[in-house]
């Protein structure tokens, strides 16, 4: 007797709907075991992770602030993954966007530059992110180089470039030698939505991006092409869709969104450019994209959930001395379960009895 996979006649709609929930459930069970191994009370730890952040206004705002870059990046990545283009360098595009936008902020610092500064920063950051993402896309389309490896390598390059700028030419002369630029001027800062709060305009932009993605994928020919190229490459070729062009397009869009997320993070919650502006948003967004089933609304929910784990992780560290790395382990396990559960949309388990197999083979 053996347990094997068997392809379903058609994809299961029920499982497609419930699989993220099953995955979250299984992750939580695994986390309970992990907390127990670490010698922490699992119930208190789960409370600190998932309930406590939802009970006060400051944490709720903080969740929205953390979800903003995650959702923006994940929407772009989902377009890539739908088109079967593997951009895993969003972290680098995020950093390059942050650097490009900061350039305007640094250059206009202390001048009487007007309200054009912030819009210019956003546009430049998105363009820089898109251009940076085009490097792996063009290497893929023109030369056939694996976009997975090239986009990932460029993350390290972007990280080092940012490091050079804030330690070298852009370092704040009054910053006691810390590797950071000076605090951005008010005109170069993303405005807050609530006076004295944390929520900023970036969250609104993220919601607009989600809405745009819903329209793009559901209501336009381009969106249809993206979905067909990924799901049925042969059919797409017969339909005359240009797969190369779609790789370029989806990489550019995802790079632009990651770049935009980068400058919003720097000109918003952080307020200046420094190393370590991202706790791995570009990589966590990959999980967000899959957990959200590559669907814009799903990504919005998944982004808020992953943001909750960031905030919850910080609170659990303060309250119960649970190491921050637990959050990363948690996110990795979650992605495993999401992928495993998704497998059941296309396949089902079946018990096979070897002797029967032999008879069939003989007949």
């Amino acid at each position: 007797m053996q347990l094997v996979l068997e392809k379903r006649a058609e994809r299961s709609g029920t499982i497609a709907l419930v699989s993220p929930l099953i995955a979250i459930g299984l992750t939580i069970v695994t986390m309970v075991i992990l907390f127990a191994i670490l010698g922490k009370n699992p119930l208190l730890a789960l409370h600190a992770y998932f309930i406590a952040p939802l009970t006060d206004g400051y944490s709720l705002q903080e969740i929205a602030v953390k979800a903003t870059p995650l959702v923006m990046i994940a929407i772009g990545l989902s377009l890539c993954y739908l088109a079967n283009a593997w951009n895993i360098g969003a972290e680098g595009q995020f950093l390059i966007g942050a650097v490009a936008g900061s350039w305007i902020a640094v250059k206009t610092q202390g001048t009487d530059a007007g309200a054009w500064v912030l819009p210019a920063m956003l546009i430049l950051a998105a363009s820089a992110g898109a251009l940076y993402a085009l490097i792996p896309a063009i290497c893929k389309v023109k030369f056939g180089a694996s976009e997975i490896l090239t986009s990932l390598m460029l993350v390290y390059v972007a990280d080092l470039f940012l490091d050079y700028l804030v330690r070298g030419p852009w370092r704040d002369p009054h910053g006691f030698n810390f590797p950071t630029t000076a605090e951005f001027d008010p005109v170069a800062t993303v405005p807050l939505l609530i006076e004295g709060g944390r929520l900023h305009l970036g969250s609104i932009i993220a919601l607009l991006v989600v809405a745009a993605a819903v329209i793009l994928l559901g209501r336009t020919i381009k969106g249809f092409e993206i979905r067909v190229v990924g799901a049925a490459p042969r059919a797409a070729r017969f339909g005359g869709f240009n797969a190369d062009q779609l790789i370029i397009l989806t990489f550019a869009v995802s790079g632009a969104l990651a770049g935009l997320a980068g400058i919003i993070e720097v000109a918003g919650p952080v307020g200046h450019l420094q190393p370590g502006i991202s706790p791995g948003y570009g990589f966590t967004a990959i999980i967000v994209a899959f957990l959200g089933r590559l669907n814009p609304l799903g990504i919005l929910i998944a982004g808020l959930f992953l943001a909750l784990t960031f905030i919850g992780g910080e609170q659990a560290q303060i309250a119960m001395k649970i190491p921050l790395d637990v959050t990363k382990v948690f996110q990795g396990i979650l992605l495993f379960y999401v992928l495993a559960c998704d497998s059941l949309i296309l396949y089902r388990f079946k018990l096979v009895f070897p002797n029967r197999q032999v008879t069939r083979g003989a007949g």
């Binding site: 094997v4 996979l5 068997e6 392809k7 593997w86 895993i88 490097i135 290497c139 023109k142 030369f143 056939g144 180089a145 694996s146 997975i148 490896l149 090239t150 990932l152 390598m153 460029l154 390290y156 390059v157 080092l160 470039f161 490091d163 050079y164 330690r167 070298g168 990589f283 966590t284 990959i286 999980i287 899959f290 190491p323 921050l324 790395d325 637990v326 959050t327 990363k328 382990v329 948690f330 996110q331 990795g332 396990i333 992605l335 495993f336 992928l339 495993a340 998704d342 497998s343 296309l346 396949y347 096979v352 197999q357």
Partner: protein
């Protein structure tokens, strides 16, 4: 003369983890499995390897811990990508994200601790030969092992029946299955070998390269190992050349920083990553006639029953 010798020793030390990890991945990819989790398996191997050596005081047991940790990590991958037919790219990414978190958790208690690094074995008489003596006969055990490993893999792939079957699985899993070979089982073993190598390569870093553990100390070496497999056109001989070339680039940029060439150190540090991109582009371009990759690489296989 002293300097040349020191540079060669440093190049060998920098190349060895790349060579070991890439050798394992080469075998996995030859069987048709693309495991992008090398970085994750390496970093867990590094944390467990250091933990093992620190607890027991033995480099050998540390290396063993690294191998076991890498193998266990690869089993998660095999369960997902082979058992549940999940997309291999996504599973590999998940393995890396998970591994980075897990290694931080395991290694947290060991940050700041030091161990006595792996000793260099000096083969008497031979090691005293001027110039080449110390380079060839005065390395740590890992360096010799990595060379034996790649030679063994070459022999296995091209000179044994099992190696031929493994390559057949990577080129056409449907035919291999039709001939009665257990494709998924063979691939599982190949993935486990890849994991063991990645774990050992990771363990090399805190056991021989630097005598301490830092979170994230693999610094993308797992990804460079993946690129090296592409660079090698999936051939063990070229893998050796590639690994030592990359080791040389790494050491060259370190020395150039030391000499104060006037180029910011961050630009020099970016060199190995940029070199990877450029090499991938040049190689892929040279190969436009036809791919040398195993034909079934990265594709899902669910046997018909």
């Amino acid at each position: 003369m002293e300097l040349v010798e020191a540079i060669i020793l440093a190049v060998l030390a920098a190349s060895t983890p790349l060579l070991i990890a890439a050798t394992g991945e080469l075998v996995a990819e030859r069987s048709g499995v693309l495991n992008l989790g090398v970085e994750g398996m390496m970093i867990v191997g590094a944390a467990c390897g250091f933990a093992g050596a620190w607890l027991t005081g033995s480099i050998f047991i540390g290396a063993l811990f690294g191998i076991i940790a890498g193998t266990l990590m690869s089993l998660i991958f095999a369960l997902m990508a082979l058992g549940l037919a999940v997309n291999q790219v996504a599973t590999g990414l998940a393995l890396t994200i998970f591994g980075i978190g897990l290694s931080g958790l395991i290694g947290a208690g060991f940050v700041g601790e030091r161990i006595t690094p792996a000793v260099h074995l000096y083969i008497p008489v031979l090691a005293d030969i001027p110039l080449i003596g110390r380079v060839l006969f005065g390395e740590d055990g890992f360096v010799y092992f990595s060379v034996a490993l790649i030679a063994g893999v070459w022999w296995f792939l091209y000179r044994t029946r099992a190696g031929l079957i493994l390559r057949a699985c990577g080129d056409n899993h449907v035919s291999a299955h039709a001939l009665g070979y257990p494709v998924l089982r063979i691939r599982t073993f190949a993935v486990m070998f890849g994991g063991a190598c990645a774990g050992l390569a990771g363990a090399y870093l805190p056991l021989a390269y630097t005598p301490f553990f830092i979170p994230g100390m693999t610094a993308g070496r797992g990804w460079i190992a993946l690129a090296l497999v592409v660079f090698s056109s999936w051939q063990p001989g070229r893998l050796v050349v590639g690994a030592y070339l990359f080791g040389a680039v790494t050491i060259l940029q370190l020395h150039a920083q030391g000499w104060g060439v006037g180029i910011p150190s961050q630009f020099m540090s970016a060199l190995p990553y940029l070199a990877t991109v450029i090499v991938l582009v040049l190689l892929s371009r040279a190969r436009t006639g036809g791919s040398t990759a195993p034909a079934a690489l990265g594709t899902v296989f669910v046997p018909d029953r």
